[in-house]
Amino acid sequence: MSTPRKFSKVLIANRGEIAVRVMRACRELGIRTVAVYSDADRVALHVRYADEAYFIGPSPSSESYLRMDKILEVAKRSGAEAIHPGYGFLSENATFARVCRDAGVVFIGPPEEAITAMGEKTAARRVAVAAGVPVVPGALHVLADHAAILGEATRIGYPLMLKAAAGGGGKGLRLVHKPEELEASVQRARSEAKSAFGDDSLYIERAILKPRHIEIQVLADTHGNAVHLFERECSIQRRHQKIIEESPSPFVTPELRERMGSLAVALVKKVGYVNAGTLEFLVDENREPYFLEMNTRLQVEHPITEMVTGVDLVKMQIRIAQGEALPFAQKDLTQRGHAIECRVCAEDPETNFIPNPGRIESLRVPGGPGVRDDSGVYEGFEVSMFYDPMISKLVVHAETREAAIARMLRAVSEYEVTGIKTTLPFFDRALRDRRFIEGDFDTGFVSRLQAEKDERVRPTEIAMAVAAVVAYRARRRTPVASGSETSSSSLWWRLGHRDSVTRL
């Protein structure tokens, strides 16, 4: 148990929207923020947003955002008393938690021991099994070599899931349907895991068909208190990465909520977990939950829990790390209304969500009631190929699920990005799908939707007419603009910019 103290300066060992999210909490708490940045990120939003910013190395994350030594050096140099790791990068790295402690810097997250116990996926499953929490049938240990994988695969049977032991965020994860696919999938999963986490250990578990992916948010302080903040529904995924989340889950009954929440709190208390964490479950068609893994960090989709519970999770993380006790008990927490998050990614949804880095030519974010945009980019920013393609999280909150879906569709209709393709058009389609509206979906929703014909009535003729008029204008200007309008730049478009009420 530590004595409460106030941080005056916190280093954020991350980039993008989550770094900005953490800095926003710090700014509201009167805490100065320190950013670190790579070559590619000199003008990234987190650098602009911070009170201080220091260069830590080349663009590949292994040479910058994963460099513990450089990050601790910046902490020392800037006088930061604590480090918030965000998600990804070093957030679930027990060694980093230890070296922070050794350096006398507070790691805003669980202690090394809890990361070790719960962070490594197969160890967490062993803890869960020991605590009587149901888990998906599968290996409880990392599989050393190909022979071990082959043996385990044969034992468990197909379809099966290959997973990176150090993983998260869908990286190093592969669904294998039949034995012939195994070898290639292992190779690709290993190589992804290696480059994402610096660790290519894999394990296997049985694939549950048509599963719901439902997770429970927990908070625990250094005084032995722990609560859960209800569930998040995370079944809408592409490439095994969540893309739409909501809370509450339309699939979860009060009884299941209570059961999963209690299991989560019990597990957390058993391992002496501290700070924010998330327990992921698969729930099968009979509403049986299977513990999958624990994310010993802040989750991407934490805002939907914040909107429904009224609790600021990042501020709570900081307060817990300062040694404060949780200011509420389980009975004080309630779910109010309904929240949905859509992950806006630089990807082309029409081409199997392939990443689409590039410069954001224009950016218009939605506003008005119940809309929250947690962004890591700005107009003119170059989305780099070095990092995750997620550029922003769009979150809405409304009185009911129906009102929240309508609000999200409204927000998506206001959101416009040019210069890169994004997942926004996909949300317009997904949220109008009858199965989504009825809450009748599982983790296969996105691929089924992709395989189907788009049934929406779309203003195709207007799009053609507008494009033709713009082309006409471009043609007419050719002699004046000396051909520049055929370049990929939008330069011609800016001609006459100062006269905004110009009829084209």
Binding site: S195, P389, E461, R475, S490, R503
Partner: protein, 163 residues
Amino acid sequence: MLFDATTAGQTARVEVRENHGAYRVTIGEKMLELDLVRAGNHYLSVLVDGVSHDVGIEKTAEGFAVLMRGDRFDVEIKDAVKGAVLGRATHHGPLKLTAPMPGKIVKVLVREGESVEAGHGVLVMEAMKMENELKANKAGKVQEIKVQEGQAVEMGALLLVIG
């Protein structure tokens, strides 16, 4: 002025004429009168017989992307008289697979001379921390492979030709 516009799998002949500050656009049988005014750097406010369309515009290689209420139309525009694409030319005949993003070739899944189905994976590229399998858009024989495993490629680089 006459154009051929293609988007969302549809192609139409589009005629554009100026008409007292507005535009008269004929698409097939239909005639639309567009009052089209710039609204900031990348946006147009378009009124068509009282109906309001708030449009974001992006110049693309083949024409323009038109963004409306969260939806996006990549419209290819060809001059119907000259038959040329406004931007760069499109390629017919053999399929030339180009890099959809800058990245690294992790794996080449086919050999020259091999026959592939449409949808068959041909290359694995790494970009933005993800490995992405590139697929053949049409069936055919792999005529030429322009890249090697481990090679870094720019966006738009020619990777492979399927005949």
